[in-house]
Structures are given as structure tokens and as C-alpha cells.
Symmetry: C2
């Protein structure tokens, strides 16, 4: 069993980006600039945004963090998105989700210029991805593809089972893995809450992508010997023995599943860091497109 | 075994549309108007466009057929699309594919106003479909969903195997069938040229959608007793005994497969008429949205 070490792969991607940014600077060209919007003070969101800003610093991107109180009127948020759309220095715009209930997330995402939508949530980018056209691919699925690529995991002709049909992970994963690309060219089965024989299907899988958000849902009896397991889940469970007050759990019961795997992602340190690396990569591409 | 009779279901949809159009007329409202563009004189394309214009007549829509020679410059075609985009009387724009090789189909499709893209090929519509938002769904997959709905075929929790990953059929089918909707909520496996164990996978399927464009590819030994089989293939094979000079073959070997099925579509008379009915429905919806 080998670890799909997201920290290591993400570091390699960031190191490469850092060199490319340095090169841009040498040539007197524009440096990539990511603008992040954070509404309210949800603990997990604070952590994620802080990690993204830190990654920008690491690779030499410019970053702007725009903070709003949780009760900001929707129209104010949309105005800020418009302002960032119009700012030629900004290459990527990221609105940290979830947003407070009084704001329609859809309206905010749709307001982002598709050419700056480095999270890849705008319908134009989703549509282009499905059609195999160049686009910003959502950061988590993109990160998983980069992870498979980094560790040269063979995917062609393999049977991948994706558990979960969310717009931001499960669906794009099923498209990317089944695309005529490398990594890709998998036969893909997409499963969800109405799937009747999930265990049998998972047992057929050469690759399992668990993205349903239920801690330790995938157990050893669901996994074939030699399978590749990618764990997208990241749930905070209370843990009073820890300083932070919580521990992170994936969707896979790591200790029992890992011994059966050829490759497996840990949680944390698997998909999480790759999501951020993918976001950096998207922002870099956005900057390059404009220069 | 029962026939998923596309002619009958399409007629029912058209009858309903006809009544709704008559109602619009009574209320003095705008009548739906479909504009079709045909470039060159490919035999199959001529047939398809003629059938679409005829369907418009049947339901009481206005239709405009714009014909161009095969050597029309790309820019002229794009100008016409723009003109139709700007024409407030036109609700739906359809460019019959394939286009001559010197024209980039992608550019033409992307030029169509997404709100008039009744073929559902624009990235915005594809992206919205994937995200479960209201959109124009490509006519063939939409027609298949309407067919399943018409005959009340149970799909929830069923395992559907889609053979073929084209942008216009296989991919959207896999999304629609796995969506949280009715019909829908299937576990979906998408197969393609790199799939290694296609026969085994098809044998697991409660529903098979064959959309690979290889005549009689799906044979009886690939189909489980009681399966629902939807045949999207329509290949013209030369046949000198026929007046037309050709016969139409689906992707399914109908005679041997049909006895094993609970439901099966014939070719012709299955998916084909539903594609046109779905196009009419999309055009109607487009008109309603503007009134």
C-alpha cells in the first residue's frame, strides 16, 4: 500500500508555480492575483481561506482578502464581485462557501466573470468541462486529477466508482475520470443515496472516490484488494482531547481499508492540499491568459 | 415485452403543444418561432431539418428555414446567427450539424444566444443541466427522458448503463439519469471505447442506453432478462432493394434483444421522433419565457 501524499504533490506543484511566477517577475510581467471573499466567521471557512491566502504567499501570488459581516445585504456582495470582475489586476475571484442563508449562492457564483472563476463553479466552466473544452475545473476534482497524475496512477480502462453526486465534487469527478484524457478513460459509475447495491458496486471498483460527507462510510468489506481509494470527505468531529476541540474524519475508514489498497489518500493531507494547489494553478492560468 | 413507441409519445406531446399554442393565439400572445439553419445538402441533414419544419407546422409554430451553400464563409454564418439572436420574434435557433469542415462548429454553437439555444449545445445550458438548474436540455437526451416519463418506466434506484460518451447524447444522458428527479435517480455507469468488460456491465444493467453509433452492437447475450433498452443509434446502411437506397439500423440487434426486454425502443420510431418532440418543447418553453 502506498500513500497518495497530497501534501507532497501539492508542494511539488507550488514549487513549480513559484518558479514560473519568479520568471514572470523577471520578465516584468503581471503577477497572478487572487481575490477571496469571506462572509461571516464560520470556523472551517476561516481555516480554508487562511490556507488559500497562505498558499498565495508561498508561490508569490498577490492576494486580497475581502471580509464582510454575516448580515451583509446580498446586493453589496454582488457589487463587490462586479468591482473585482472589472479590476484588471485581479485574475481569480473566489467566494468562500457556504454563504449565510439570506444570500442566494447561485446568484453570487453566476455574477463572477467566467474568465476569473478559478473555483470553476460558473455554468460556463462546468459546461465547457463536460464538453472537453479548456475551462476552469472545480478545484477539488482538479486537485484529485493532479494527484493521480503526480503519482502516475494508471486510470485508462479502469472501473471507477464515484460515491456522491454533488455539483462540486461527484459530478465533475465522474466527467473527468471518464474523459478521453490521461488521467481519465475510466469506465465510471456514479452512486448516490438511491443506489441499491453500493457495496457490490464498490467491490467491482479499481478506483473508489468517496465524496458523500459521511465519516468512515467506506469500510474494508466494500473494497477490492489492490484498489485505489480517494477520500474527499472531511468532517469535523468534536474531540475534547485536542487543543482545536475537533478532529478531522474522512469518508473512508482508513485503518481497515488502507491495507487492501494499492494507493490511498490520507485525511488530512490527501485531497485537501491538492484542492488548494489546483486553485493556485487555475489562478496562474487565468493570469497567463490575460498576458 | 413492450414497445417504447416514440411515434405515439411524440404525438401526445405534440398534441398537447398544439392545444397550448392555440391557447396562446386565443390570448393574442406571441406564437413560438423556430429558425433552422441548414448548410449544404447532406441527405440525412435534409431529412432531419424537413422533419423539424414539418413538426413546427403540426403544432402551429412559426418556422424559418435558412439555407446556405456548402461553401459559405464562416463569418456569413455567424452573422446570420447574430441576426437571429437579435430578432425578438425568433424563440429558438437550430443549426443542423454536421457543418462543412471549413467551419468550426464550436464557434457557431457558442455564438447562439443561450436563451435561444433550443438544441441545448451551448456550454451555459450544459453547465446548468449538470448543476440541476433550469436549462435547455439537448433534444435527444431530453426526448429519451420524456419517453421514459410517458410510459411511466420506473428508474429510481435502477442501474443504468450508458454506452457512449458523446457530448450530445451519452454524457447528458448519464447526468439526467443520475439526477435527483423523476425519471432519474439511477445509479449510472458510463462506458466507452476503453471500457474493458462491457458485456459484464451491460448484463448488470436494468436500463441500457446504446449511443455509440455502431449498428447492432448490443446483442442478446449482453442483456439481462427484463431490462429496459433504449436505442439511440441510427445508421444508414445501403440497401438497393429499397426505394430510398438505404435502411436504418440502430445500435441494438432488435430481433434477438427484444424478447428479453421489459421495454425497448424500435429504430426507426423510437428515439428519433422524441428528439423532435423535445425540440418543440424547448422552443415552446423559450417562447413562454419571453412572454
Amino acid at each position: 500500500m502506498e500513500i497518495l501524499d497530497g501534501k507532497k504533490a501539492a508542494q511539488a506543484i507550488k514549487d513549480e508555480l513559484k518558479m514560473e511566477v519568479a520568471q514572470l517577475a523577471v520578465e516584468g510581467k503581471k503577477i497572478p492575483h487572487l481575490a477571496a471573499i469571506l462572509v461571516g466567521n464560520n470556523g472551517a471557512s476561516e481555516t480554508y481561506v487562511a490556507a488559500k491566502v497562505k498558499a498565495c504567499d508561498e508561490v508569490g501570488f498577490k492576494s486580497t482578502l475581502v471580509r464582510f459581516e454575516a448580515d451583509i445585504p446580498s446586493v453589496k456582495l454582488l457589487e463587490k464581485v462586479q468591482e473585482l470582475n472589472n479590476d484588471p489586476d485581479v485574475d481569480g475571484i473566489l467566494v468562500q462557501l457556504p454563504l449565510p442563508k439570506h444570500i442566494r449562492e447561485r446568484d453570487v457564483i453566476d455574477a463572477i466573470d467566467p474568465d476569473k472563476d478559478v473555483d470553476g463553479f460558473h455554468p460556463v466552466n462546468i459546461g465547457k468541462m463536460l464538453q472537453g473544452l479548456p475551462s476552469f475545473v472545480p478545484a477539488t476534482p482538479h486537485g484529485i486529477m493532479l494527484l493521480l497524475e503526480h503519482f502516475k496512477v494508471e486510470t485508462k480502462g479502469k472501473h471507477a466508482v464515484v460515491v456522491g453526486r454533488s455539483n462540486i465534487v461527484g459530478r465533475p469527478m465522474s466527467i473527468l475520470l471518464s474523459s478521453n484524457s490521461n488521467p481519465g478513460n475510466c469506465t465510471v459509475t456514479i452512486c448516490h443515496s438511491h443506489t441499491q447495491n453500493l457495496k457490490e458496486l464498490c467491490l467491482q471498483a479499481d478506483i473508489i472516490v468517496a465524496a458523500l460527507g459521511k465519516p468512515e462510510f467506506v469500510t474494508a468489506d466494500m473494497v477490492k484488494e489492490g484498489a485505489v481509494v480517494v477520500d474527499v470527505g472531511i468532517t469535523r468531529l468534536e474531540d475534547s482531547t485536542r487543543k482545536s476541540g475537533f478532529k478531522l474524519k474522512g469518508d473512508v475508514q482508513f485503518d481497515t481499508v488502507a491495507p487492501k489498497c494499492s494507493w490511498i489518500t490520507p485525511v488530512p493531507g490527501g485531497v485537501g492540499p491538492m484542492t488548494i494547489a489546483a486553485l493556485m494553478k487555475n489562478t496562474f492560468v487565468s493570469c497567463k491568459m490575460k498576458n
